[in-house]
Point group: C2
Chain length 129, copies 2
């Protein structure tokens, strides 16, 4: 399989590129994570989001523990080639490890961050703690 498309992606000095996941249906921005070259290639091949965890130093199939898989509908690239956008269908309706739809659940109001989203899934259920 040709990998010419991968050559057009500009990875940073750590070999990573930021990837935004957006819900293909609602348009909600769900999260931002990072991908190395292999994670991006695997995302395309599997049709499910695979990221690179900087804290754990390894690739990570979104949903591998929680089941909250992201099925990839489209992969987009920006003008500079250094940002990826995934349009996804979010299994279970919750992208965030807190059990919320989106990781971006805090809104700045009156100089404070207000939580604007409900918890849809009990994190203990998602992660079996």
């Amino acid at each position: 399989m040709s990998r010419a498309w991968l050559e057009q992606v500009q990875f940073n000095p750590q070999g990573l590129v930021p990837a935004i996941a957006q819900d293909a249906g609602s348009g909600r921005v769900l999260m931002l994570a990072w991908m190395d070259r292999d994670a991006l290639a695997e995302t395309m091949e599997r049709g499910e989001a695979v990221y690179f965890s900087r804290s754990r130093g390894r690739r990570w199939r979104k949903g591998e523990r929680s089941g909250q898989v992201q099925r990839v509908v489209e992969i987009r690239l920006d003008c500079d080639g250094d940002t990826v956008l995934l349009l996804v269908e979010q299994a279970g309706g919750a992208a965030c490890h807190t059990g919320r739809e989106s990781c971006l659940f805090r809104r700045l109001e009156n100089d404070d961050w207000e939580i604007i989203d409900p918890v849809l899934k009990d994190p203990e259920t998602l992660y079996g703690r």
Copy 2:
């Protein structure tokens, strides 16, 4: 003015945080750029997006040359505090320096990046070259 909200933002070792700009009306993801602490504070105070250009090493008011200002409707923060989302009204309807609505105008199709958006504004008009 209290800056306690700024203390909850996790800037990377370079003092930067990624900021996603999303059109508040259409929901289209327009771009990803970076902010330092002062850019984020100034974005809140001005109500218009201010970023930090890593290539130029300075803050940059979006639209300062092109007029393509982003009026900020909401500022959101993610669960880890290390990603910012701006909901914006994009002046002129084109966020990208290429004159397109969104910087994320390439879609992966058959192992190649296909341009899916038209040029709405002549870049020469935007930047006066």
